[in-house]
């Protein structure tokens, strides 16, 4: 993808993903020259005077007021994520779920609808289906295997489509480009949760997505230390085209009648999400968590490469194991998602996937309790390998039917393959399955 910028005036040079995971957003500190990003552990920032203060509060000047809105350490992470996604701007939040809440708050009024893939992280299904409903935001879940299902669910009130391109937990890959075409035709943004694929494996904006959300808790920080989330905008969505987004195009009473799309152009959605959503609901990322996440992100490209390599070997091992009935990993040639994976995730299908244990629920419980290296816990995207039985944990709140639809039936085990010696991981699963 070409950038509209030409930094050196010597023709466009697009820096590679590896360079950008290390450098984007983090030039040395202007005052001290500190090479790594300092942790600005401060809540607030002095004003130069009353005029400066009022300019900042009116959004007429760029600058720091209070860390609920902006913080210099968090800002480096925001710019880095925006850059890696080839987006225009990003805003971080205290968790992936907070990021999702903010992403929708900038779009929806009570009574509005959005359409979501039913193959999502279980927590997202609950957030959308139960808690959002109480705010008057109505989510229609559809089977993403046929993109036309999204079109069929459209109504006058639909304001967005939400998918995970590589879905948690089942390793389903959805047809991003086809769904993007439907959302474009409907004049609504396509929101992609890119948590499990990361920008290293998939670039949703290249396929027509308009907004990307992340749980940075997972592969971006990579080491299971820090909760966090992000909302990224492509900068290409035309908010005014159909008059569907008054929150973006009409004078905002929360800012004396300022119009976000007009005043901030292609980063208006991010400004709205930050200066209204973050300001009024408060789920900001802490500077320390931004620092840990930045530290992890520097090696995103190396880590994800190895995650994928280990995951494929383990999937192949399980595929040939007599106690296993099926393996759902899009990296396997036999996977029904292999073709979509080749298109959208050419460098690998991530390292989170599911498999079925022939002897069902009880055998699953025995497996998660018998492993020695895999950690039995509810997270993904850690350096350490993780194992989970979704039906008894993350997907417990769902109905049997929802569980089955989300690929989390009672015989299902989810792995998040880490970076240990792959032979050790295989040995561990093998002994636990005996």
């Amino acid at each position: 993808m070409t950038s509209k910028y030409d930094q050196n005036g010597k023709g466009q040079h697009k820096y590679g993903m590896e360079t950008r995971t290390i450098h984007a957003g983090s030039s040395p500190d202007p005052v001290t020259g500190a090479r790594n990003t300092p942790i600005y552990q401060t809540t607030s920032y002095v004003f130069d005077g009353a005029e400066h203060a009022s300019d900042l509060f009116n959004l007429q000047a760029f600058g720091f007021i209070y860390s609920r809105l902006t913080n210099p350490t968090v800002a480096v992470l925001e710019e880095r994520i925006a850059n890696l996604e080839d987006g225009r701007a990003a805003v971080c939040a205290s968790s992936g779920h907070a990021a999702q809440f903010l992403a929708f708050f900038s779009l929806l009024d009570p009574g509005d609808e959005f359409i979501a893939s039913r193959n999502l992280y279980g927590g997202s299904i609950t957030q959308f289906g139960v808690s959002f409903k109480r705010l008057g935001w109505n989510c229609k879940f559809v089977d993403p295997h046929d993109p036309e299902n999204f079109r069929k669910a459209l109504s006058e009130k639909t304001k967005a489509i939400f998918i995970e391109v590589l879905a948690n937990p089942s390793g389903v890959v959805v047809d991003l480009e086809a769904i993007a075409a439907i959302s474009k035709e409907a004049g609504i943004p396509l929101i992609v949760d890119n948590t499990l694929s990361t920008p290293y494996l998939c670039q949703p904006f290249d396929w027509g997505a308009d907004i990307i959300v992340h749980s940075t808790t997972k592969f971006l920080s990579g080491n299971g230390t820090s909760m966090g989330g992000a909302v990224v905008e492509s900068g290409k969505f035309n908010w005014a085209a159909r008059g569907k987004f008054p929150t973006m195009t009409e004078p905002d009473p929360a800012y004396h009648g300022l119009t976000f799309a007009e005043t901030f152009g292609d980063f208006g959605y991010t400004m709205k999400t930050r200066t209204v959503g973050l300001r009024d609901f408060g789920p900001c990322m802490s500077p320390a968590n931004a620092f840990y996440t930045l530290m992890g992100m520097e090696t995103l490209h190396l880590r994800v490469e190895r995650h994928v390599e280990n995951a494929l070997k383990i999937a192949e091992f399980l595929d040939g194991h007599p106690a296993i009935s099926w393996v759902s990993y899009a990296g396997l040639k036999s996977s029904p998602y292999h073709q979509l994976k080749q298109k959208y995730l050419p460098k690998g299908a991530g390292s989170v996937f599911t498999f079925g244990v022939k002897r069902g629920y009880d055998a699953c419980i025995k497996l998660v309790e018998s492993v020695n290296l895999f950690s039995h816990l509810a997270n993904v995207g850690d350096t350490r390998s993780l194992i989970l039985h979704p039906a008894s944990t993350t997907h417990r709140q769902l109905t049997d039917e929802q569980r089955k639809n989300a690929g989390a039936g009672s015989d299902v085990i989810r792995l998040s393959v880490g970076l240990e010696t792959v032979g050790d991981l295989i040995y561990d699963l093998d002994q636990a399955l005996k």
Binding site: S27, P28, G33, A90, T263
Partner: protein
Amino acid sequence: MTQPSRPLVYSDVDIKRILLGVRTIAMVGASANWVRPSNFAMKYLQGKGYRIIPINPGAAGKVIHEETCYASIRDVPDQVDMVDIFRSSPAAAGIIDEVISVASDKGIRVVWMQLGVRNDEAASRGEAAGLEVIMDRCPKIEFGRLFGELGWSGVNSGIISSKRRKYAS
């Protein structure tokens, strides 16, 4: 916006040279209403040391941010380095023609069309008359981007550099 026929790519080096080289900017379409984007841009650029002269026939004679507003560029009594156009893409044509006719008299070197404003034909006429033309960009946003401030709001500056950031003020 007129249908863009080609992507507009300006080098950061050129944009920086323009922003550091001009001091007085005539802002065509500057609004006296403080929540309008032009009013924001005016205030911001004043804060960075630029003199901004508002041009707006509807507000001629009024004072916006301590500067007298004129009905046209021709009416401005002082020298002007750059004209910043906050009008529609079609309306930019007439403004560029006016700039061409007064450029040597006023010392105008640069015409800048705001974010969303693009008129390739008018731009070509301006360039043929020796003016440097920028389209579909905002000087406030570009200033913020190139001198590090925009990144404070999580905007992707597109800059990769191991040199200390320098803030201009």
